[in-house]
C-alpha cells in the first residue's frame, strides 16, 4: 500500500501517547506468560544435556529412568523421525541430538514425570555413553584446514574450494573498481576486528505446555515471537497436519529475535504424545544460555580508502561469522549491511558462515548487521582521526541518499540518513565540552526492515466498539499502535478498541514478529481492514437513506452524505450503525490479508560520551543520544523505548557481554552473574530524537524501528573509548581488563 496522497492530514490518534493496553496486567502479575500455563494432570518435563562440546553418542540407556516411579515418558532422538527437509532436520536435531552431541548443553534425552524432583532424579538415571571428539569454538580456527569438522556434507555449492568443511556458505556483494578506487585515496586503513557471541538476554526463559490427545490432535501454549511458525515447525517434526496442532502464544517477556524458532516445544509434544498427559517444560537460565540461540560471533577485516577532504574512494570487507553447530545465512545480511550507509563508487564485501561446536545461533535484532557496521564505522572513525576530519561531516559527505546505488545492489528511494546526521550535528550533545579521560564517539546504523505475511480481522461490535484480531505476539507495543491506527482510520477513540493476539486456528498464516515488521505490516493490514469495514458501513447507511453507496462518506466516526446532491440526512454514528446491524445485513467486519512489501529501510545515528577510569579500565557512559528515522512514529513512547532498548543491548555487546568458552569447549558463564548485561545503574538517561521521513510504502509513512538501534552502539562506544584513552580496541567486548591492558601498553 503506497503512502496516502493526503499526507498533509492532521493525525488525531497516531502520534499520541495513550496508556499501553497490557500495562495493568503486567504490573499486577495478571498477565499470562509461558510458564503460567497449566492443565489438569500436567507432567513436568526436564531435558538431559551433553556435558561435552563434541561427542559421538554411542548409546543411551533409559531403562532405569523409565522404571522410576512417577516417570511417565522418556524420549530421545529415536522418538522422532528424520525429516527430509534439511532446515527442519536442523531444527529438530538442535532440539534433540541425533548421533552426535554438537555443543556443550545439546539436548540428548528428556523425561516427563509427576514432579520436578522425580524428573530431575530420572535424568541422573539415564546412561549415555559418549565418544568424546575434538572440538572447535573459535571462528577463525574452525575455518582452517584440519580443524575438527562439526558436521560433514553441509557445504553449499557457492563455497570456494580449499576451505575447511566447516565453511558452509559464502557470499559476495558490491560494485565498481576497487583497485582504481584505492588508487585515488590519500589514506588507506586496513584493520581486523572480532566480536563475541552475545545472548538476547530476555528475562523470560523459554517455556511451553504441550498437550497431545489420543486422536492425534494437539495444543501448545508457549512464549514465542511467532505461533504460526512454531506450528509449522512442530507439525512437520511431529508428522502432524497443521490443522491438528493449535498453538497459542503467551505474553512474552522479551524475545529480540531469540524466540523466532523452537528449542523445547517439539520435545514437550513428544513427551506428551508418549505419556498421554500434558507436559510443561520451563528452561532454567543455565539452559537458556547453553542451548538457545545467541547471535553469531565474528571476525572481520575492513579496508577503506579516503581522500584528504573525507571522500571515501573504495571500501572492502571480509566477514567470517560462526553460527554454532548448524548452517546459517547470517553473514549475507552482515555483508549487505556493512557499507549500506555510504554512497560508494567501489565497494566489495565477502562473507563466510562457519560451523563451530556452539549452540545454533538465533536471530538477534538486525541479525548480522551490528558486527559488520562496527568494523566499518571503526575504520571510518580512525580515518577521520588520521586525516583530522570531523566524523559527522565525513559521514554527511558520504551518506547514502535517494538515488544512491546501495552497496548491496538496489537504488535507495526516500531514506532518512542525511536528515538523521544533520539532526545529530545540530544537537547540543555534539558540541558539549568533554573532560579528562573522556571521549565522544558516533556511528551510523542501518537495517533493511521487512513486511511479510499478515492477516487481520476487525470486528465492529454491536455497541460500536471494535475488536481487532491479529496474529503477531506483541513484543514492542504493537497492540497499542494497531489500535491507534484503527482508531485513526475509523474516527473513534482509542479506548473503544481492543486488539488481541490470535491462536493459529483463528487467522491465516502470519509471519513471525521479526524484521521490525509488525507496526508496518500489521498496521498496514489494519488500516485496510478498517477501510473495508467502513465500506460495509457506508453501504448499509446508503441502503437506509436510499442513495447510492458512493454518495456516502465516512468522517469522524460517522457516515455522512457526500455532499448537497446526495440528499439531506443526519450523520449516522458507528454506534447507531452497529446497533442496527442485524437489521441491515448482519455483523459488520473488515479483513485484510497481504504479503506486505515496501517496508522501507531504516537508518540511525548514535552519539555517546564516555569516561574511562585509567585505574580500573571501567567505562562509564556519561551521555548517550539516539537519532532515528521512524517514518511516522505511531506511538512515540514505544518508538523511544525501542531506540533506548536497542541502544542498551548494543552497549552491553560493546562493553561486557560475551560467551566465554574454556579450552575444553565448555561454556563458562551461563548465568547473569557471569554474563554481564547492563543494568539501570550502568546507564545514563538515553536521549532520543525521532525523525519522520515518510516511508512511501505505507499509507501513514510508517517504518519499522525495532532493530536499527542495536546497530550503532558497538562502534559508537568503540570510537568514544578510542578517543578517551588514545588507543583503539579491535575486539569486543571492551571489558575493563582489556582496556586496562591497552592503557598499560600505551604507557
Amino acid at each position: 500500500m503506497p503512502l496516502d496522497s493526503k499526507m498533509n492530514r492532521v493525525f488525531k490518534v497516531v502520534g499520541t501517547r495513550p496508556p499501553r493496553p497490557d500495562g495493568v496486567d503486567k504490573v499486577t502479575g495478571r498477565a499470562m506468560y509461558g510458564a503460567d500455563a497449566t492443565a489438569p494432570g500436567m507432567l513436568v518435563g526436564r531435558i538431559l544435556r551433553s556435558p561435552h562440546a563434541h561427542a559421538k553418542i554411542l548409546s543411551i540407556d533409559t531403562s532405569a529412568a523409565e522404571a522410576l516411579k512417577g516417570v511417565k515418558a522418556v524420549v530421545t532422538s529415536a522418538d522422532f523421525g528424520v525429516p527430509d527437509n534439511l532446515s527442519i532436520r536442523d531444527v529438530q536435531d538442535n532440539c534433540m541430538a541425533r548421533g552426535k552431541a554438537l555443543y556443550h548443553g545439546h539436548a540428548v534425552a528428556a523425561v516427563a514425570a509427576s514432579s520436578a524432583a522425580i524428573a530431575s532424579q530420572a535424568l541422573k538415571l539415564i546412561k549415555v555413553t559418549y565418544e568424546v571428539l575434538p572440538h572447535v569454538t573459535d571462528v577463525d580456527e574452525a575455518m582452517r584446514i584440519g580443524a575438527p569438522v562439526v558436521q560433514s556434507g553441509r557445504v553449499l555449492e557457492n563455497v570456494a574450494a580449499g576451505l575447511s568443511e566447516n565453511v558452509t556458505s559464502q557470499c559476495e556483494f558490491g560494485h565498481g573498481d576497487l583497485e582504481a578506487g584505492f588508487a585515488k585515496a590519500d589514506k588507506i586503513i586496513e584493520r581486523s576486528f572480532t566480536t563475541a557471541a552475545t545472548h538476547q538476554g530476555y528475562i523470560e526463559p523459554h517455556a511451553c505446555l504441550a498437550s497431545m490427545s489420543s486422536d492425534g490432535r494437539g495444543d501448545l501454549w508457549c512464549c514465542t515471537q511467532g505461533q504460526f511458525f512454531v506450528r509449522s515447525l512442530c507439525a512437520e517434526i511431529m508428522g502432524m497436519d497443521a490443522s491438528q496442532l493449535r498453538v497459542t502464544a503467551s505474553e512474552i517477556g522479551g524475545g529480540f529475535g531469540g524466540k523466532t524458532t523452537v528449542f523445547i516445544e517439539p520435545v514437550a509434544l513428544a513427551l506428551s504424545r508418549k505419556s498421554g498427559r500434558p507436559v510443561k517444560i520451563v528452561m532454567t537460565r543455565d539452559e537458556v544460555f547453553k542451548a538457545t540461540g545467541p547471535t553469531v560471533s565474528s571476525s572481520t577485516d575492513v579496508k577503506i580508502g579516503m581522500t584528504k577532504d573525507g571522500r571515501i574512494t573504495a571500501a572492502e570487507a571480509t566477514l567470517r561469522y560462526q553460527g554454532g553447530a548448524f548452517p546459517c545465512e547470517t553473514v549475507s545480511m552482515g555483508a549487505q549491511s556493512a557499507f549500506a550507509c555510504y554512497d560508494l563508487d567501489a565497494v566489495k564485501t565477502l562473507g563466510w558462515n562457519v560451523l563451530t561446536n556452539r549452540p545454533k545461533e538465533a536471530a538477534y535484532r538486525a541479525p548480522g548487521a551490528p558486527m559488520a557496521i562496527y568494523a566499518v564505522e571503526s575504520v571510518v572513525d580512525e580515518l577521520c582521526q588520521e586525516l583530522g576530519l570531523d566524523p559527522l561531516d565525513v559521514r554527511l559527505k558520504n551518506a547514502a541518499s535517494k538515488g544512491t546505488k546501495s552497496s548491496y545492489g538496489p537504488t535507495f528511494d526516500d531514506i532518512g540518513l542525511r536528515a538523521t546526521l544533520e539532526a545529530a550535528k545540530a544537537h547540543p550533545h555534539y558540541t558539549a565540552p568533554l573532560g579528562p579521560n573522556q571521549g565522544r564517539g558516533l556511528s551510523c546504523g542501518f537495517w533493511f526492515n521487512f513486511g511479510g505475511n499478515t492477516c487481520v480481522s476487525l470486528n465492529i461490535n454491536t455497541d460500536g466498539t471494535v475488536g481487532i484480531t491479529e496474529g503477531n505476539p506483541d513484543i514492542g507495543g504493537s497492540r497499542a499502535a494497531i489500535s491507534q491506527m484503527a482508531a485513526e482510520e475509523l474516527g473513534i477513540p482509542y479506548e473503544k478498541i481492543r486488539t488481541i493476539i490470535a491462536d493459529t486456528n483463528s487467522l491465516g498464516y502470519n509471519d513471525v514478529t521479526d524484521g521490525s515488521r509488525v507496526t508496518f505490516a500489521v498496521g498496514l493490514a489494519t488500516i485496510e481492514a478498517a477501510r473495508n469495514a467502513i465500506k460495509v458501513m457506508c453501504g448499509r447507511v446508503a441502503k437506509i437513506w436510499g442513495i447510492d453507496e458512493n454518495a456516502v462518506i465516512w468522517e469522524d466516526g460517522c457516515a455522512k452524505p457526500a455532499g448537497g446532491n446526495a440528499g439531506s440526512f443526519d450523520p449516522m454514528s458507528i454506534e447507531e450503525i452497529a446497533a442496527i446491524s442485524a437489521n441491515t445485513g448482519g455483523p459488520i467486519a473488515g479483513h485484510h490479508e497481504v504479503n506486505a512489501d515496501g517496508a522501507g529501510v531504516s537508518f540511525g545515528v548514535h552519539i555517546a560520551d564516555v569516561e574511562v577510569d585509567p585505574e580500573t579500565g571501567a567505562t562509564k557512559i556519561l551521555r548517550y543520544t539516539v537519532f532515528q528515522d521512524a517514518g511516522k512514529a505511531v506511538h512515540p513512547d514505544y518508538v523511544e523505548g525501542q531506540m533506548q532498548g536497542g541502544a542498551v543491548q548494543g552497549i552491553g555487546w560493546a562493553l561486557n557481554e560475551e560467551y566465554i568458552y574454556g579450552k575444553d569447549g565448555l561454556l563458562q558463564n551461563a548465568g547473569f552473574l557471569d554474563y554481564r548485561v547492563p543494568v539501570a545503574s550502568d546507564l545514563p538517561d538515553i536521549d532520543t530524537v525521532i525523525l519522520e521521513i515518510p516511508n512511501p510504502g505505507h499509507p501513514y509513512g510508517v517504518r519499522g524501528v525495532g532493530e536499527t538501534p542495536i546497530v550503532p552502539p558497538l562502534a559508537t562506544l568503540s570510537n568514544a573509548v578510542a578517543r578517551a584513552i588514545g588507543v583503539r580496541i579491535f575486539n569486543l567486548p571492551m571489558s575493563p581488563p582489556k582496556l586496562l591492558k591497552a592503557i598499560g601498553q600505551k604507557g
Partner: protein
C-alpha cells in the same frame, strides 16, 4: 527484457556476469526463466531469494509486476530478529 543484477557469489552460475537479461514480467517468471537460462542458480533459488524491484524488497510475491525499465536486483532471502 529486464536487466537483473546478480549478487557476487552467484556470478559463477552466470558466466561471471553481474547483470543478465531475462524476459519476465513478474517475480515468478523471472525466477523460472533464470533457472532455465542459468541452471547453476537453481540451488540458491530453491533455498530462497528476495527481489528488490525499484528499491522495494519482495520476499515471496510471485506476481510482483516487473516493468521493462525496472531496476531488478536478486538478493538473498531476508530474515530479521
Amino acid at each position: 527484457m529486464v536487466k537483473v543484477t546478480i549478487w557476487g557469489s552467484l556470478r559463477s552460475a552466470t558466466d561471471g556476469q553481474a547483470d543478465v537479461e531475462i524476459d519476465a514480467s513478474n517475480f515468478r517468471e523471472l525466477l523460472d526463466r533464470l533457472v532455465i537460462k542459468y541452471p547453476g542458480l537453481k540451488p540458491q533459488i530453491q533455498r530462497g531469494v528476495s527481489l528488490a524491484l525499484d528499491g522495494k524488497i519482495y520476499r515471496e510475491a510471485w506476481f510482483a509486476k516487473i516493468e521493462p525499465d525496472s531496476e531488478v536486483v536478486l538478493m538473498p532471502y531476508m530474515a530479521g530478529g
